[in-house]
């Protein structure tokens, strides 16, 4: 193999792997990302039934109902709109009425959000950052949530329930 051929092989090989990586990333970005919405944003955007997204907001006081076999339902609101949510499983340690929550799933034909994951991804002020930002933007922000931001620990400090 001549020097020129060697160089061409190397460059060609590198470009092939890079192209593969780029193709994989672009493909994955099209299919596997999930958008975040609050109930009012969901209503505004008319998210079609069956499309997965992350729903964030406050769990309405008194809305939590436990059914048989770990089935739970509650309502998420952001002050503007409300969306009923159903979930089956164990809720995270930090799930509370009146506190922030992020749920992942899709709206079904009846307009109920069926969550398959409920995240308690937040700090000791019980407010997920995504939710806090969205609520601030819409002007439904209670000051007592906005204490000191938590120090992120050098480890994954989230809990989730699937």
């Amino acid at each position: 193999m001549t020097r020129r051929q060697r160089r061409l092989t190397m460059i060609g090989g590198s470009l092939a792997v890079l192209a593969l990586a780029a193709a994989l990333v672009l493909n994955a970005l099209r299919d596997s990302i999930v958008f975040f919405s609050t109930p009012s944003m969901a209503a505004e955007k008319h998210i079609p039934a069956g499309k997965r997204f992350r729903l964030g907001g406050l769990v309405e006081n008194g809305s939590l109902q436990r059914g048989d076999n770990l089935a739970v339902s509650f309502t998420v609101s952001d002050g503007g709109a409300r969306l009923p949510v159903t979930y089956k499983g164990i809720l995270p340690d930090l799930f509370r009425e009146g506190q922030g929550v992020v749920a992942e799933g899709a709206i079904d034909a009846a307009g109920v959000f069926r969550a398959d994951t409920v995240l308690a991804k937040h700090d000791e002020t019980y407010m997920p950052k995504d939710v806090a930002d969205a609520l601030k933007k819409q002007g439904h922000w209670k000051d007592d949530y906005d204490k000191k931001p938590a120090m992120p620990a050098p480890q994954p400090s989230q809990g989730a329930s699937r």
Binding site: M1, R3, R6, R7, T9, M10, G13, S14, V17, L18, L20, A21, L24, V25, N27, A28, L29, D31, S32, I33, V34, F35, F36, R54, R66, N69, L70, G89, I90, L91, D93, L94, E124, K129, D130, A132, D133, A134, K136, P149, A150, M151, P152, A153, P154, Q155, P156, S157, Q158, G159, A160, S161, R162
Partner: protein, 660 residues
């Protein structure tokens, strides 16, 4: 008094770092030995002062001195002693102090054990090390001083986040930081090489042990963090592709690539410029990780804006060091003597392939981690990039890497023989095919990909063994001779085999856990039972207990297998009064490499408790693999070759480097 002394020691360390960052480099420029030697004493003195400062913070936490803000916010007088100590780095200020302490430790190690380094190289390396140190001392002193006092000291502290009150906090962050910060040494060596305009095989030999050491700690730190998340968070997941985790995975991927390219540079004097770039990138990714975790930018771009001083300061450090080193690289790299070009099919070609796949995998993780941030800044849309993205990008890049992995060590330097290597890997290939066939027959109709992936894992492990067998001539020469050869085999060969086998072991664990994990989620009343994967579990009773700073609700399960009793499992839920929060303490029952896992949910009005029970087959292999890898690294680090010191740099060749 202790707090003020600790603060003062930190200021003195900054002063020393400023001296160390200028004087030795001027000395190296003017070829003045006395000035260059300043680096050694300042580095050691700096270590002394930072260690004092760190010890001061530890003693404040142990003594529960709530007149210090940091102690008040993160400690409680009733907290057990071990968590008082580990709580020191369970918060922002303390963890940054740990960061600089480790940085000073590495600087001190280079100063103490770098006697065989050329004087000017050592001066440059310690000088660059001091630039980093100065930046971080300033960061701590200006924005995150852990020694601040409160005017009216409260009687009791606010306690540490309960999730962090675990032995994991004692091990995981220090390990991770030893890894992160350890890469600063290879960074300093790279920048020193660029400043000096000279680099040779001896340089690679000096850098390799430091890189290896950092890599071992980072590997263990990541594995430890993953196991911690697994048992502490209560739902049995061990990797979430969370940005915080990705932040530690990226330097690991780049560092692994660096380890391999440094081998090529050491043995063949090639890939020099690339190795320098990797050394810079690896530490840049460590800095990026520190920035992502510490600035609050991850949870939200807006959280970053609410506490701007810290975020902007770290961003500034990030820009100066990454931008500065890359500009220096762009400016000076062409002045370095290029290494030779080599044949694509050869050991060095295989190592280059490894580098390509690892850096591409690293780039995909980088994209997945930072794309949401970029999108939020640009369009305001919030998205989450989770496991599906990484499964679609990271996994396909790792498969060819693992297929190629056993071939690498079997190829000769300069000119390799793929067909020959394939013939020698025949046995490994057969072992993999048998494993695939057996699993496929056993799980007929189950997941199709799982047996293939396990076959790949078996191939990698068998390939690592093949490499060892080939080197000692097992089955070709008499057994006693083969054993004698095995003893004489360089430890780095053993290290390679262990580390490569570790990847295969981890892969098998990952595939088994994700494919054949079975779970039971439901509510149980006392004396009710559940069945899972052949195990029968019975809830005996639920009791309450008072811990040092929490109340605990303990459920007692008796576990049996095929009618025979196996033991008792006691998962619990702790509620911490000070913070008003609770944690779930999962119970684990280990059988071989498999585990039963129970965690508790809420208690309902009728006395039933929600439980989650998992059976996770071979789950321990996920962490046993990295431990094997780290052990391989340790073997390699103890290799004679790295201990006896590097050969003198090629003096004769210097005359040829008129370009520099």
């Amino acid at each position: 008094m202790i707090a003020e002394a600790g603060h003062y020691a930190l200021v003195l360390a900054l002063a020393l770092a400023l001296i160390q960052s200028t004087v030795p480099i001027l000395g190296a420029r003017w070829r003045d030995g006395a000035l260059m030697n300043v680096a050694r004493s300042t580095a050691l003195a700096q270590l002394l002062f930072v260690a004092f400062s760190f010890a001061a913070l530890v003693s404040l936490h142990v003594a529960s001195d709530f007149s210090v803000v940091n102690v008040f916010e993160n400690s409680h007088s009733l907290k057990p002693l071990i968590y008082k100590v580990t709580g020191v780095w369970g918060n922002h200020e303390g963890s940054m102090l740990l960061w600089v302490s480790i940085l000073a430790l590495f600087g001190g190690l280079v100063a103490a054990f770098g006697n065989n380094l050329p004087l000017s190289l050592r001066a440059y390396v310690l000088g660059v090390q001091a630039w980093i140190a100065s930046a971080f001392y300033l960061f701590i002193l200006i924005t995150s001083n852990p020694f601040l006092r409160i005017a009216n000291p409260p009687i009791e502290g606010r306690d540490l986040n309960p999730v962090l009150q675990d032995i994991g906090l004692a091990v995981h962050p220090p390990m991770l930081y030893l890894g992160y910060v350890g890469f600063s040494i290879s960074f300093s060596f790279a920048v020193a090489a660029l400043l000096e305009g000279r680099i040779d095989a001896a340089w690679a030999r000096w850098v390799r042990p430091w890189t290896l050491m950092a890599w071992i700690f980072l590997t263990l730190g990541i594995a430890m963090g993953s196991y911690w998340a697994y048992y502490e968070l209560g739902w049995g997941g061990w990797w979430f592709w969370d940005p915080v985790e990705n932040a530690s995975l990226m330097p690991w991927l780049a560092g692994t690539a660096l380890l391999h390219s440094a081998v090529v540079m050491e043995k063949r004097d090639a890939l020099k410029v690339w190795t320098i770039l990797l050394a810079i990138l690896t530490f840049s990714l460590s800095l990026l990780g520190t920035f992502l975790v510490r600035s609050g930018v991850l949870t939200s771009v807006h959280a970053f804006a609410t506490d701007p001083t810290r975020g902007v300061f770290i961003l500034l450090i990030l820009c100066v060091f990454i931008g500065g080193s890359l500009s220096l690289y762009a400016w000076r790299a062409s002045a370095l003597k290029q290494g030779g070009l080599f044949a694509p099919v050869s050991r060095e070609g295989a190592l280059l392939l490894n580098n390509l796949f690892l850096t591409c995998a690293c780039a995909t993780v980088f994209t997945g981690t930072l794309y949401p941030l970029a999108l939020e800044v640009l369009t305001g849309d919030k998205i989450s990039v989770g496991a599906p993205f990484f499964n679609l990008t990271f996994a396909p890049l790792f498969v060819p890497l693992m297929v190629a992995m056993p071939f690498g060590p079997l190829l000769a330097w300069k000119r390799g023989d793929v067909v020959g290597a394939a013939q020698r890997l025949m046995a490994a290939g057969v072992a993999a095919l048998v494993a695939i066939a057996l699993l496929w027959a056993w799980t007929r109709g189950g997941a199709a990909l799982a047996p293939l992936a396990i076959g790949l894992g078996v191939f990698v492990i068998a390939g690592a063994l093949t490499d060892l067998a080939e080197r000692i001539g097992l089955f070709r020469v008499a057994l006693p001779l083969a054993l004698r050869r095995a003893r004489g085999l360089p430890r780095s060969n053993w290290g390679t085999a262990f580390a490569h086998a570790g990847i295969g072991v981890a892969l098998i664990g990952i595939v088994c856990e994700t494919t054949w994990n079975s779970e039971y989620i439901g509510t149980l009343k006392p004396s009710e039972g559940a069945q899972l994967a052949g195990y029968s579990l019975k809830l005996e009773n639920i009791t309450q207990r008072q811990g040092p700073n929490y109340r605990e609700q303990i459920a007692r399960f008796s576990v049996g297998l095929d009618g025979a009793p196996l033991g008792v499992m006691t998962p619990s839920k702790r509620s911490f009064t000070t913070r008003g929060s609770s944690t779930t303490e999962a119970a684990l029952l280990t059988r071989g490499f498999s585990q039963l896992y129970i965690s508790l949910g809420d208690t309902s009005a009728d006395g039933a408790i929600a439980v989650r029970i998992y059976h996770k087959p071979l789950v321990l292999l996920i962490w046993f693999g990295p431990v094997l890898m780290a052990f391989g690294g340790l073997l390699s680090l103890s290799d004679r070759r790295l201990r006896v010191g590097a050969p003198k740099p090629a003096r004769a060749a210097r005359g040829l480097q008129a370009a520099e």
